[in-house]
């Protein structure tokens, strides 16, 4: 079976969850003999790992002037020349760099805030939607020129591309919801984004969600028939920890780590409040908030107001090996997300032998047994869990041992097999 897959980013050019998840899934699919995946991203850089899949960059597709009509969009687009303006959204900082260099010349400037959500403000919003539309146009061209059995689109930026490919080829569409705008915005949903998401969900033959939490949002907030929505949990890439000397802590204290974007969605303020409660009772502990985001400054001010800055550290954005170094330092990993469709990072922490505390409002809480689960707002419970893990060695020992065993069982192969089952069912139904 040949799968035409539309994503938005591909390693090594990734900003987070979406890229990691779609790459992991694709890799898992590559182990299945009867699946052949063509992965399309808006822009390929040439240094991607193509051992597993054929990668097509939309920016590399030669597009002459063609007439394309597609009525799903706001305006029929007539003649499109695809330029390199289609950019994958790398991390927020990088994106900022890429787009701001082009401001003068091309007058293309898309502002994203650090949630990875695009603020549609002023005249720039038109350009982002145009980019998505351009991607859709190119998608239809790719769909014409390639042969495949099913289309799979990851997250809202790729839905229009998936719909376009479906319209051209008449093949069934599966969309994969890694997050909805309800997660990203904390409730104040952007109508344009909602519109694109809703269209994608309506057009798709099947909707894959990364957790039942997300499945419920899709069913209730987007008014989708529950039969159409199925949960396929994410997994985690096995990591080999034999990379030479392990990093040593330069101090004797325990370390509690928050690692992620410092945004409303991730609940950093609850981490600070819990840290404050713990620091009132014990001294030999340090708290680290690793990452960057639009709430970082506010968080620093809050830490200063609580007078805990001598024990509460900000590292800024961490990359690649630094992430693992940080995990190796950590005695507790905490993810107090307000709304987290899945959340792969706790799994990575568990692989690194770090006990994790996760919010009940995260999808990953549905599959983990050996983790502390608290409500994101329950700073008392969070503080208590931090204290318990730091002070009762039997507890952290159990978490580390059982957590590692548990996380080893979460393989992308299993998720890939599940997705393959869905493909077969969709194609079967589509014929009838």
């Amino acid at each position: 079976m040949r799968v035409l897959m539309f994503g938005w980013e591909f390693p090594p050019h990734i900003s987070g969850g979406l890229g990691t998840a779609s790459y992991g899934l694709t890799k898992g699919m590559a182990t299945l003999d009867d699946l052949e995946v063509t992965f399309v991203v808006p822009r390929s850089w040439g240094d991607e790992d193509q051992s597993m899949v054929r990668l097509i960059g939309a920016n590399r597709i030669p597009v002459a002037t063609r007439k394309v009509f597609y009525k799903g969009f706001r305006k029929p687009l007539e003649m499109i020349e695809v330029s390199s303006k289609i950019v994958p959204y790398i991390d927020p900082k990088d994106f900022w760099k890429v787009v701001s260099t082009e401001v003068s010349g091309q007058n293309l400037f898309v502002q994203t805030n650090d949630k990875g959500m695009i603020d549609f403000s002023g005249k720039y919003d038109v350009n982002l939607l145009e980019e998505i539309n351009k991607y859709a146009i190119v998608a239809s061209i790719i769909a014409e020129e390639n042969d495949f059995d099913i289309i799979h689109a990851h997250d809202w930026l790729a839905y229009p591309a998936g719909i376009a490919a479906m319209a051209v080829s008449g093949k069934p569409l599966v969309i994969h919801v890694h997050a909805t705008d309800f997660d990203r915005s904390g409730g104040s949903v952007n109508p344009d984004v909602y519109h694109i998401e809703k269209n994608g969900m309506d057009a798709a033959s099947k909707i894959i969600t990364v957790s039942n939490l997300t499945r419920d949002i899709v069913i209730n907030r987007y008014n989708i028939n529950p039969d159409k929505v199925e949960t396929v949990y994410n997994a985690v890439e096995p990591v080999n920890f034999s990379h030479g000397s392990t990093f040593k802590k330069g101090f004797g204290e325990k370390v509690v780590t928050f690692l992620g974007r410092i945004t409303l969605q991730k609940g950093p303020e609850y981490f600070i409040e819990a840290a404050n409660k713990v620091l009132r009772r014990m001294n030999n502990v340090r708290f680290v908030m690793a990452g960057s985001g639009d709430m970082m400054e506010r968080m620093m001010r809050r830490a200063a107001a609580l007078r805990i800055t001598d024990r509460f550290h900000f590292t800024g954005f961490l990359k690649g090996p630094d992430v693992f170094k940080m995990l190796e330092l950590s005695d507790v990993y905490i993810m107090p997300s307000v709304s987290e469709p899945f959340g792969i990072s706790p799994l990575e922490a568990m692989q690194s032998n770090v006990p994790v505390i996760i919010s009940k409002q995260s999808g990953v809480a549905e599959i983990l047994t050996h983790a502390v689960k608290t409500d994101f707002w329950d700073i008392d419970a969070m503080a208590d869990a931090i204290y318990g893990i730091l002070n009762y060695p039997a507890l952290s020992g159990m978490f580390i041992k059982n957590g590692k065993e548990e996380v080893i069982r979460l393989k992308w192969d299993n998720s890939a097999r599940h997705v393959r089952d869905i493909y077969y069912r969709v194609i079967e139904n589509y014929k009838n």
Binding site: R281, A385, G388
Partner: protein
């Protein structure tokens, strides 16, 4: 043997309620010394009292009256349950007392707190059993002569301790892996001390009532008293003893009243008396009247819990081991403490239930156990318990502020005791001598008494001085400790 012609059926019910802990956060440490969830404890006790204890006690009272000495049952009521009755349901305690007064009901001794002391410390175990015996005497007016350990935990060693404490018989599980080809339907004895008789639970017939009674998928549903009696009678020809042991909450709580469990209970004795050769007996009667067939060897502890019938439900994972070790590391200090609040909390924290909540082996089939468990996860249970235990430790340590000073005080104490002993001995000697002197001739008395008088006062004075200086140094030591404790309080 005439004794072996006697056939006995023994019904025994366990009554226990733990003092469940409230949500105790680490920042309560050192501030809040009250650990119990009064609301939950009271509402559970009230619910179980109304649904089970009171109606079941009434049925049993009626049966005793009706059968006129032919129906007997056995209970064990933990000290914690008695305390909860006193707090929340005194009428239940009253009804148990009335049952005790009939003489047809035996009450078994156990550890007061329904604890796991038997797998940790003999000394602590014996103390707790003695406390429970006092409770039974005080509140039910009975002297316990038979024993059953928490959740029927038994091993050869524990059995021998129980025998040494003078009990006639002890109850445990008829665990398959211990019995092998043997049958639980005979009386056995302890392999170290054969004077202790061992009664083994017939788990098939017990669980028919306890677990399967309301199960409509069971092919024998509905279970009637006649059907049950016919099963028992099938054993009858060659077996001596049938032991039916279960939680008392089986009646009305695990099986609701609507399932007909009370009707079953009220008809069952008549059916058994009519259809089977078995007579109702209590464990102490069984021990007196029946002959054991052989010794039973149980090298490692068994219990009546789960498929495994071992102690892993309370002592299976690292969390439980750590929590138990921590708890029992305080034993010596608590024993040297006289604070009644510490003693009470010490008892309440012993309850095996706290450790049961920490079991991880139920992750797979948590449904049954979730029913009994106030915590969401075993980790949660562990954290809460350890927070409480940490606060308890702080309180105990206030009495023994620092191990060094503690040692010093302890040594001084010892010395004072030793000197007291010497003083006592010598005053006795003086008395004896002066009596002797009095009996002798006055002329001789003069010289002798003079020498005695010369020696004695001097000696006594020296001892007195020594004692005073000791007391002084002790006072100083306690003053410094007091200072220290106030400092730490600050």
């Amino acid at each position: 043997m005439s004794a072996s012609n006697k056939k006995a059926i023994c019904f025994y019910f366990q009554v226990h309620q733990p003092f469940r802990l409230k949500r105790y956060r680490f920042f309560d440490l050192g501030h809040d010394h009250y650990y119990y969830d009064d609301y939950t404890n009271e509402s559970i006790m009230r619910k179980v009292a109304d649904k089970c204890y009171l109606p079941a006690n009434k049925v049993i009272m009626d049966l005793i009256n009706k059968h006129n000495g032919k129906f007997k049952v056995t209970f064990s009521i933990s000290g914690l349950a008695i305390n909860q009755f006193r707090l929340y349901a005194p009428e239940v305690l009253e009804s148990f007392r009335k049952l005790a007064d009939t003489g047809m009901v035996e009450f078994l001794a156990e550890t007061n707190a329904h604890s796991l002391a038997s797998i940790k410390s003999r000394n602590e175990f014996e103390q707790q059993v003695n406390r429970h015996k006092l409770m039974l005497k005080d509140y039910l007016g009975v002297d316990a002569t038979s024993f059953r350990n928490t959740e029927l935990i038994y091993s050869d060693e524990i059995g021998s301790w129980v025998a040494d404490m003078g009990f006639k018989s002890m109850l445990t599980e008829g665990a398959k892996h211990v019995l092998g080809w043997k049958s639980p339907n005979y009386l056995y004895c302890n392999s170290i001390n054969p004077r202790l008789k061992v009664l083994l639970r017939n788990f098939a017939l017990s669980d028919d009532i306890a677990f399967r009674f309301s199960n409509r998928d069971w092919n024998s549903w509905p279970l009637t008293a006649e059907k049950y009696a016919s099963w028992v009678s099938k054993l009858g020809t060659r077996r001596d003893l049938v032991n039916i042991f279960m939680d008392y909450e089986t009646f009305g709580e695990h099986n609701w009243k609507e399932s007909g469990i009370f009707d079953f209970l009220s008809h069952m004795p008549a059916a058994i008396l009519k259809k089977t050769p078995f007579k109702f007996m209590t464990p102490s009667e069984v021990a007196d009247l029946l002959q054991p067939v052989s010794a039973i060897t149980v090298p490692s502890p068994i219990s009546w819990a789960d498929e495994e019938r071992d102690i892993t439900a309370w002592h299976g994972n690292e969390l439980q081991v750590a929590a138990l070790d921590k708890l029992y590391s305080l034993t010596d200090k608590v024993n040297r403490c006289n604070d009644p609040h510490i003693k009470k909390d010490w008892d309440y924290l012993q309850a095996s239930d706290h450790f049961y909540y920490m079991a991880t082996k139920f992750f797979s089939d948590g449904a049954v156990h979730a029913y009994f468990n106030p915590y969401e996860t075993p980790y949660d249970a562990f954290m809460n318990y350890m927070n409480v235990l940490s606060d308890f430790e702080l309180r105990v340590k206030q009495y023994f502020p620092d191990s060094k000073e503690q040692e010093q005080i302890f040594l001084l104490h010892e010395e004072v005791n030793k000197k007291d002993g010497i003083i006592y001995k010598q005053t006795r000697e003086i008395e004896k001598l002066s009596k002797k002197v009095a009996r002798l001739s006055p002329s001789k008395t003069d010289t002798k008494s003079r020498t005695a008088a010369k020696g004695a006062p001097k000696n006594a004075r020296a001892i007195k001085d020594e004692k005073a200086s000791l007391k002084k140094s002790q006072k100083e030591a306690s003053a410094t400790t007091a200072k220290r404790s106030t400092r730490t309080k600050k």
